[in-house]
Symmetry: C2
């Protein structure tokens, strides 16, 4: 029996830990917040052990930014956040807004034309 081919790297690793951070923001600060998140990603987050992926979302109404990151294990994310090396990267974000960060498991995913994945 051969292993099934990976259709999509993003969806096949069902054990990945997902963190979603919803930041409330004023429309005039939204662009700045996106820039700070991209800088933290580039200079710190992407280099940390267990990092898998990031996407940053700009609320169309101007009032939110959502950061969506995936990690090999939940502990990898927690170690990244707790490391004192994180402070200079996250401090300017904390001055702008306080996000609500939560850990999630992806229990279902489907792409048009593909097969649905359930991990309940």
């Amino acid at each position: 029996m051969t292993a099934p081919a990976a259709e999509n790297t993003d969806n096949t690793d069902d054990t990945a830990a997902t963190f979603i951070n919803v930041f409330p923001v004023r429309p005039r600060d939204q662009h700045r917040l996106v820039e700070l998140l991209m800088a933290a990603h580039e200079n710190y987050i992407r280099h940390r052990p267990g990092y898998l992926s990031t996407s940053i979302h700009r609320g169309v109404d101007g009032y939110q930014v959502v950061d969506y990151t995936r990690w090999r294990r939940r502990e990898d994310f927690e170690a990244m956040v707790r490391d004192p090396a994180a402070v200079p990267h996250f401090a300017p974000i904390g001055e702008l807004t306080k996000g609500e960060q939560k850990a999630y498991d992806v229990v279902f995913s489907h792409e048009k034309g593909g097969v649905a994945r359930r991990a309940l």
Copy 2:
């Protein structure tokens, strides 16, 4: 000059509209909510024009469910929600909880080992 190869179908369509729905929920209702969202997906949402992808996330602390869907255009999502045919699929979800649904643009995405995409 040749067009760059698509690395990942999910990320290459930069014009896609993303909708993130954060549902507060009691831990005892979380599993039921996930089942209702999966049923709405299977029986209605995935068949609608412009649908691209869905992922459903279960909060590790038991208190949230996040539904993340992508559509060709924002109008496709809005037409899907407004159609009277949606009512029987969404009514049982509305009885359980009221989500906060918002429209987003993906302004940045990166996967480990890949090239970052910016759409600011």
